[in-house]
């Protein structure tokens, strides 16, 4: 209904040349996306499902949009954060080359993310998934150095390979049941008994396909590489849009293709749980090893994404509540951290952790926001991360798999090991930073960061009114 309009607006943004107008158009475009998404929210919360059939090639195969609560989670998170990231980009890119190119693809990938969120069948999801990968490729290689080109190639080949696996499974599913539509409760229930092995294989293919984006080990190595991108891109794509698209794809597979009952019968989640737990722990361990701030954040993302997958594969309403709410919470927290890293780079040019001693003297607000983000990921109340952690732990214990809970506890302690020294060093070690007159960073960057940090606390305090009913609406359709 509204989605096509978004596309049109974005094409308008394409023709834009002048700097000031470009920013304005980019902002307007993402704001309209946001407004249209939020305008659909009450209807979705009331239980309606909006369907838009764009066109179809064959029976059940075609561009088909369906806006359900699960898609709404991803759509709302992405579109909200896109606005902040756009404002931030304006500040960050002020001294960079080739801004037009940057903003074109930045806004384009917004439409791709929306497409992913609201696609109504696996085929549409696949198309937008690839579209997202292609749109973001120019953003990753924006610096134009040899290193970034190499990272870009790695990025695109992982994405396309993952996509290919999804495509393969599309064939197989279509062959099996003749439809690809996402239906709450799954579409594969009817064939689960007779084609048990086959749908297990398909499951593996789909998880591998989406797992590439979700950075499940051993398919994660594109993510740290892609950190050569400009920071807003890292923030948005690697904290919110792309990796979450992978996680979102996995949730779709779980909840809309297979359905909880089928998966319980298949008994595949245990193997996956082991892989994901491994990802969480090893990702955190590798984060400790990193000496570059952005890389540390990237590895931390790998671990945190594991939380979401873990929550979903518990196949337990409480665990899923934790996992899905972590989509929101992690997005807000991690984008704050990346924004801080970006400001540090813009203002001081420092990337390595050991150069950041005493930076709290020069950029107190930035580092305060950083502390909020980091503590939030550790689950300190009332910053929003604790909510997902609480429900994940509960889900683990109640679903009879306390091992999940132990993984999360361990990873929290590992989080502490790699985040706390940054905060302590920033404020309580002497370095070559002095208090500067004026604002500590360009306001277009500082303000979104602080808003995000405050939002993280508010989302934690008032989760009763925001995150939790929202996610519960999703779960009602699934369990």
């Amino acid at each position: 209904m509204i989605v096509p309009i978004i596309g049109a607006i974005i094409i308008r943004a394409l023709d834009e040349d002048q700097a000031a107008k470009r920013h304005l158009v980019a902002l307007i475009a993402v704001s309209i996306v946001f407004i249209s998404v939020i305008s659909m929210l009450p209807a979705i919360m009331a239980g309606e499902i909006i369907k838009v059939n764009l066109f179809s090639f064959l029976d059940g195969l075609g561009l088909f949009f369906k806006i359900d609560p699960l898609g709404m989670v991803f759509g709302l998170v992405s579109s909200t954060l896109w606005i902040f990231a756009t404002v931030y980009s304006i500040g960050y890119m002020a001294h960079e080359h080739d801004q037009r190119n940057y903003f074109v693809f930045f806004v384009l990938s917004c439409s791709a993310a929306m497409g992913v969120a609201f696609s109504g069948n696996l085929f549409t999801l696949y198309i937008f998934y690839e579209y997202l990968a292609i749109c973001t490729y120019p953003l990753v290689v924006h610096a134009g150095t040899e290193e970034s080109v190499k990272a870009g190639i790695k990025y695109i080949s992982y994405s396309l390979a993952g996509g290919a696996l999804v495509l393969l499974s599309i064939f197989m599913i279509y062959d099996l049941v003749g439809t690809l539509d996402f239906t709450a409760g799954g579409i594969l229930g009817s064939v689960a008994v007779e084609h048990r092995t086959l749908i297990t294989v398909v499951f593996a293919l789909l998880i591998a396909g989406f797992g590439t984006k979700a950075a499940i080990m051993p398919l994660h190595s594109w993510l740290p590489g892609a950190m050569v991108a400009p920071t807003p891109v890292s923030a948005l794509l690697h904290a919110v849009a792309i990796v979450k698209a992978g996680v979102f794809g996995i949730s779709r597979v779980f909840f809309s293709l297979y359905g909880v009952d089928v998966l319980q019968g298949l008994n595949v989640t245990n193997i996956l749980a082991v892989i994901v737990s491994f990802t969480i722990i090893v990702g955190s361990l590798m984060a400790i090893k990193q000496t570059v701030l952005k890389l540390r954040l990237a590895y931390s993302t790998i671990g945190q994404l594991g939380y979401i997958t873990l929550g979903v594969l518990m196949l337990d309403p409480t665990g899923a509540l934790g996992g899905l709410s972590h989509i929101i919470n992690h997005a807000v927290l991690k984008i704050t951290l990346f924004f801080c890293a970006g400001m540090i780079i813009t203002v001081t040019g420092k990337k390595n952790l050991d150069q950041l001693r005493g930076i709290g003297k020069q950029m107190p607000l930035t580092m305060l926001a950083f502390a909020v983000g980091a503590l939030g990921l550790m689950g300190v109340t009332p910053i929003c991360g604790y909510i997902s952690k609480y429900y994940l732990l509960t889900g683990g214990v109640l679903s009879g798999n306390p091992a999940y809970a132990y993984v999360i506890i361990t990873s929290t302690l590992l989080n502490a090991i790699y985040y706390l020294p940054i905060i302590v060093n920033a404020f309580f070690k002497d370095g070559d930073f002095e208090k500067q007159p004026g604002p500590e960073a360009p306001l277009t960057m500082l303000v979104p960061t602080l808003i995000m940090a405050v939002a993280a606390i508010l989302l934690g305090l008032f989760a009763n009114y925001t995150t939790i009913p929202f996610i519960e609406a999703v779960l009602k359709t699934v369990f």
């Binding site: 503590l375 550790m378 689950g379 300190v380 109340t381 009332p382 604790y386 909510i387 952690k389 609480y390 732990l393 509960t394 214990v397 109640l398 306390p402 809970a405 506890i409 929290t412 302690l413 502490a416 090991i417 706390l420 020294p421 905060i423 302590v424 060093n425 404020f427 309580f428 070690k429 002497d430 934690g460 305090l461 008032f462 989760a463 009763n464 939790i468």
Partner: protein
């Protein structure tokens, strides 16, 4: 109730007006004291004030003032005021003291929140907040040792947080509530519920420096500015004690714990702490460190009183909370005065210091006599009750350990005072001169020293009566 936090926070807003600063800081701690007085009047007849806000899922934010909370909050408000006045003196002319007050007040606000909270979740929220605000105070001096100690404390805070988070999660899921005041939420023991108990034990043990979790404390106290050490030992440490009381009496319930016998774990740790802390205190030459280790021993007393599960021992613990705050607060403030005026932190350098600052050292001596538990002083009463409680619990041998620990106390405190006043013949004239001392620093010291015996020599020991009432409610 909530205005108490508000008061601490609004003064933060005022901080930008330099002239108003001192007044704002003072009002930040005075207002709570007045509010507490008001609340005391309200809750005289054991009514329970109660407030529930539907934020902070899953359990919601709850505040609740029962007699125990009332008692604790009165103590906290009083000591917050005394120590803040002292800190004004400590950082009198220094610009560097400026941010210290923010954290000080925020941490105090967190402490009030902890005491007034009505369920474990709210408790957890303020507990973490308070600890996080204490961390900058530890690392405040920005020396390598200070930031290392700060980092250590920070880690311990997070570990405590995770342990408590786990415990609360189990509690809420297995009993459906984390609210205080029902006298026990669980019916039967299970491994998960036991793991929750261990979680609480770790969390509160870390905060109150109980024995296997004590190692952050000496470092933190030695490198933090003295007001931070004082606030921590007079107030924050007590939140850990309060937490354990809440866990045993409100979350698990007395009969449950008795049946399961889990209090024995606590008892062993408490006794170990009592002796270990005292023995380690001997070996320290740094005054703050010695006080820190002695604090570990004192926490052992309080935990012992909780673990014995008898009414008399419970009275002993609560009285000890107050007595220890007076005593240890006074000692830390003295240590701070010595440091600010002479720059000395080592005990071996303090020979003859009593001639330079007689009042300070007199206060210190009073506090250390009190620490040993000589009759007219506070600690006698708490040790007396602890001993009686141990006897009532059928464990008279604990009385011997109490006595042994007292002797150890005497043997590491008295030499400090003795050396300060005597044994200074070889000192040069310059060092014999009396120093002029700041009244802002000295008044709190004297108030606390007075408090070390004031209540016991009065005809009616009203804190003790108050505590007796509380204990009756709990047993």
């Amino acid at each position: 109730m909530a205005p108490i936090l508000g008061a601490a926070c609004t003064m933060l807003a005022d901080r930008y007006r330099p002239a108003m600063r001192s007044a704002a800081i003072l009002s930040g701690v005075l207002v709570p004291l007045l509010l507490v007085g008001y609340m005391f009047n309200l809750s005289k007849d054991n009514t329970i004030l109660y407030l529930k806000l539907n934020v902070l899922p899953p359990a919601g934010m709850e505040f609740r003032v029962d007699a125990l909370a009332m008692y604790m909050v009165m103590l906290f408000a009083f000591f917050a005021l005394v120590i803040t006045v002292y800190t004004l003196g400590y950082y009198r002319d220094k610009v560097e003291g400026k941010p210290f007050f923010y954290f000080l007040l925020l941490a105090i606000g967190g402490c009030f929140g902890v005491v007034l909270s009505g369920n474990m979740f709210t408790f957890f929220l303020f507990f973490e907040f308070m600890s996080l605000m204490f961390f900058p105070m530890v690392a405040y001096k920005s020396t390598p040792e200070a930031s290392a100690a700060g980092l250590k404390f920070f880690f311990m805070t997070i570990i405590a947080g995770v342990a408590m988070f786990w415990a609360i999660m189990i509690t809420y899921n297995f009993s459906g509530s984390t609210s205080f005041g029902s006298g026990g939420l669980f019916e039967s023991a299970s491994p998960f519920i036991f793991s929750a108990f261990i979680g609480y034990l770790i969390a509160f043990g870390i905060k109150s420096a109980m024995i296997p979790f004590h190692f952050w404390m000496p470092d933190a106290y030695a490198s933090a500015p003295t007001p931070a050490a004082a606030i921590s030992s007079a107030i924050m440490l007590k939140t850990g004690v309060l937490g354990l009381i809440r866990v045993i009496h409100d979350i698990y319930g007395l009969s449950f714990i008795q049946e399961a016998g889990w209090n024995n774990i606590l008892m062993v740790l408490a006794l170990a702490g009592m002796l270990y802390g005292s023995i380690c205190a001997f070996a320290q030459d740094d005054l703050n460190r010695r006080l820190a280790y002695s604090g570990i021993a004192q926490v052992g007393y309080m935990m012992l009183g909780i673990a014995l599960l008898t009414e008399l021992a419970f009275i002993g613990t609560l009285y000890h909370v107050m007595a220890h705050a007076f005593m240890k607060g006074c000692m830390f403030l003295c240590a701070g005065v010595i440091y600010v005026n002479t720059g000395k932190t080592k005990i071996s350098e303090m020979r003859g210091i009593g001639l330079q600052m007689p009042i300070t050292m007199l206060a210190f001596t009073i506090a250390s006599v009190s620490a040993v538990g000589v009759p007219p002083f506070n600690l006698f009463i708490s040790k007396w009750h602890l001993g009686l409680g141990a006897y009532a619990a059928g464990m008279p041998w604990i009385i011997f350990l109490l006595l042994l620990s007292s002797i150890l106390n005497a043997s590491y405190y008295f030499p400090i005072s003795i050396n300060a006043f005597l044994g200074c013949r070889e000192l040069k004239n310059i060092e014999r001169q009396r120093l002029r001392l700041q009244p802002l620093r000295m008044i709190p010291v004297m108030v606390l020293a007075l408090g070390a015996f004031a209540f016991t020599i009065m005809p009616v020991n009203w804190p003790l009566n108050l505590i007796r009432n509380i204990a009756q409610l709990f047993f």
